[in-house]
């Protein structure tokens, strides 16, 4: 029984749309879920996406190492996306390609192509919490965000770095998740995350991820230019710099099969 502050005009609008008045009495859980559903809805319809990214790994002494990766992603209705990542550097793993069919609640299906051996290896994907390429990002952090992956609780609305954000607590539904909860600052206009705090299995704050440089593509889809994650335990950090986002390039599921993995460049 929270939203009594809604004015008559709003109630009139809900009535007009035929929505049950109960919507007004939504619990924090319902409101959190509603925001997640809205965010998902707004980011639906991009069909496919390609992008390149530079990953900068920094250890506690500030020493850097870099990786260059190209990604292709296919939007899949009613399931997690399919993605193909191709590594350009470090040079010793150049041509290594990673194919993933992501799912919300069951393990992903993952294959790795090792160019030196010409070998496609199906790999175990139970564990999505392991580090991606030695970085502070886990596979879980970088895979597609499906609504069913979490339970939600709306906490408050507050300003962060000059933008208004819903603060939502998420609890992973996936039993092998590396986290117990995530606090997410979701931009109220873009419906995209601005900041996420990750709490580990011991319920301690493990890392903080911040997003910046959002740009809108195709008049609809917001994508960040930079993602930066800091691990509070190890003091290591990883920055992702995204560029060359392209949408609706005409990719099909054929570009995400095991044959395409072998010729990914």
């Amino acid at each position: 029984m929270h939203n009594f502050s809604l004015n008559i005009k709003h109630i009139g609008l809900f009535a007009l749309l035929g929505l049950p008045l109960l919507a007004m009495a939504e619990t924090p859980e319902e409101k959190g879920l509603a925001i997640a559903i809205e965010a998902d809805k707004r980011d639906t319809g991009w069909q496919d996406q390609t992008a390149s990214l530079e990953m900068v790994l920094r250890n506690r002494h500030g020493q850097e190492s870099k990786r260059n990766i190209r990604t292709k992603t296919l939007e899949v209705d009613g399931d997690g996306d399919k993605s193909l990542s191709i590594f350009d550097s470090p040079r010793d793993i150049k041509g290594t390609a990673f194919l993933s069919y992501t799912h919300a609640l069951v393990p992903d299906e993952q294959w790795l192509y090792l160019p030196a051996l010409k070998r496609v290896k199906r790999i175990s994907s139970n564990n999505k919490s392991g580090p991606f390429m030695g970085s502070e990002f886990s596979y879980e952090d970088l895979s597609s965000q499906e609504v069913e992956k979490y339970s939600y609780k709306y906490l408050r609305t507050e300003e962060i770095d000059g933008r208004e954000a819903f603060v939502i607590e998420r609890k992973p539904a996936y039993k092998y998740s590396g986290y117990t909860r995530l606090t997410t600052w979701m931009d109220t206009e873009m419906y995209q995350p601005l900041k996420i705090e990750f709490y580990d299995r011991k319920k301690a704050l493990l890392k903080t991820l911040t997003y910046s440089g959002y740009q809108q593509y195709e008049g609809q889809f917001w994508r960040p230019t930079n993602m930066s994650v800091v691990n509070h335990l190890t003091k290591k950090s990883t920055d992702l710099h995204w560029k060359d986002y392209r949408f609706k390039t005409g990719l099909t599921s054929r570009d995400f099969d095991r044959n395409s993995l072998k010729r990914a460049r």
């Binding site: 790994l57 250890n59 190492s65 870099k66 550097s89 470090p90 040079r91 010793d92 793993i93 150049k94 041509g95 393990p107 299906e109 051996l117 010409k118 070998r119 496609v120 199906r122 790999i123 175990s124 994907s125 139970n126 564990n127 919490s129 392991g130 580090p131 030695g134 970085s135 099909t252 054929r254 099969d257 095991r258 044959n259 395409s260 010729r263 460049r265």
Partner: protein
């Protein structure tokens, strides 16, 4: 080295390079290697410690929206002591055309089939470049035309393989060889076409949920030679490789169930004459698992435990030393910025005390350097002529390799 048929595939591939393609890209590596042996050699002509250098550049260009490409990968090695190990090869020279429901590849290529770690029974397209690596993991480029047909029920790969590649063997001064050495200049073929014989192969692969399946067929010259005792041009005893015509069916399966990988490979081969001189069809298999402990001791490191059974129906008459053996291995992956990895494995012979210990480890330095430490130890190998590993019983070694990638 290459046959006429394969040369025509090559030139056809070269003609497919469009005149105005974008400049392609170069990558590859140069590497230096030092091998130290634990014991003096069995044969006084063989060397002790050894230095070697190799390079493998790669050129790639594509056009037609990435649907067509050319890949060229030459390889060259110089070895301090072994003239047979100093060699060059074209690992790859392939034209590729990919369409929605098929992919066509023509040229020289490497292909890998199978799932197991200890040995690769099903993998038959490429000849082993034995001077490169004693574990048989390095392969020579194979001329081929390969059509892949892609549908909802999997991929069917059809191969025409013109031109046979002989297995490489260490020379007189080389270590890790049989005694007497193999004289490759006198190879004998069952086929009258000798190395010009055209081989055929087919493979179907598919995956159903957690199961990855492969079924394969090969008809042609066996990649595995048997040997006859003869003499080299100096009148010294030598083993003469004999290549039979064979037919082989193969089946491989991997189940990826949580942190378990269950692996199985089986072949049935006919036409291959065994060590007792009999031409009997036989079955061989590898079966086992890899289980991974994720994030051991609250770290990012994963520890894998691998075990496989290696079985060959021919027993002591098999051409491989792994007729009834067990592999126990452990893989440690640190998941750090330098991609540090260790693999330590031991193959036990169930008949006697013979053991083969293998170490593989690697770590990246900076952005472009990689250091690899490898080794093999041959333990309690019986000093009898019937033992296939008798020639290498004193050849346990440790090898340090430093590679610069570009």
């Amino acid at each position: 080295m290459f046959t006429r048929a394969s040369l025509s595939i090559l030139s056809a591939a070269l003609f497919c390079i469009p005149a105005f393609s974008d400049a392609g890209e170069w990558s590859g590596y140069v590497s230096g290697e030092f091998r130290a042996f634990a014991n003096s050699p069995t044969d006084a002509r063989q060397h002790d410690n050894n230095i070697s250098f190799s390079a493998q550049p790669e050129y790639y260009t594509d056009w037609d929206n990435g649907r067509q490409s050319i890949t060229v990968v030459p390889f060259v090695r110089w070895d301090e002591n072994d003239s047979e190990r100093s060699h060059a090869d074209i690992r790859e020279l392939t034209w590729l055309k990919a369409a929605d429901s098929w992919e066509l590849r023509a040229g020289i290529r490497k292909v890998f089939w199978g799932v197991t770690e200890s040995q690769h029974l099903v993998d038959i397209i490429n000849q082993t470049d034995l001077v490169e690596a004693t574990d048989g993991e390095e392969k020579l480029g194979q001329p081929m035309v390969n059509l892949a047909l892609i549908s909802d029920w999997g991929t069917v790969d059809l191969f025409v393989l013109p031109g046979f590649r002989e297995r490489t063997f260490p020379g007189e001064k080389g270590r890790l060889r049989s005694s007497p050495r193999v004289d490759t200049s006198q190879a004998i073929y069952e086929s009258d076409d000798e190395e010009q014989h055209i081989d055929y192969a087919a493979r179907w692969t598919h995956y159903l949920g957690d199961w990855d399946i492969g079924l394969s067929y090969f008809n042609g010259t066996s990649r595995d030679p048997r040997f006859a005792l003869g003499q080299d041009n100096k009148g010294q005893p030598a083993l003469i490789p004999i290549y039979d015509l064979i037919e082989q069916w193969g089946f491989d399966l991997q189940a990826t169930l949580g942190d378990w990988l269950w692996k199985f490979e089986v072949i049935n081969r006919s036409g291959q004459v065994d060590r007792s001189g009999q031409d009997k069809s036989y079955t061989a298999l590898t079966a086992g698992f890899e289980y991974t402990f994720i994030g051991i001791a609250d770290s990012n490191a994963d520890l894998g435990v691998i075990s496989e059974v290696l079985y060959d129906e021919r027993g002591d008459d098999a051409l491989t030393p792994f007729a009834d053996d067990i592999l126990l291995a452990s893989r440690l992956t640190l998941n750090d910025e330098q991609s540090t990895e260790f693999l330590l494995g031991m193959i036990f012979d169930s008949d006697d005390a013979a053991r083969l210990l293998t170490l593989e480890s690697s770590r990246r330095f900076g952005e472009n350097w990689k250091i690899t430490l490898e080794g093999q130890a041959f333990i309690d190998i019986p000093n009898v002529n019937t033992e296939l590993l008798v020639g290498v019983r004193r050849d346990s070694y440790l090898q340090l390799e430093i590679a610069r990638y570009f």
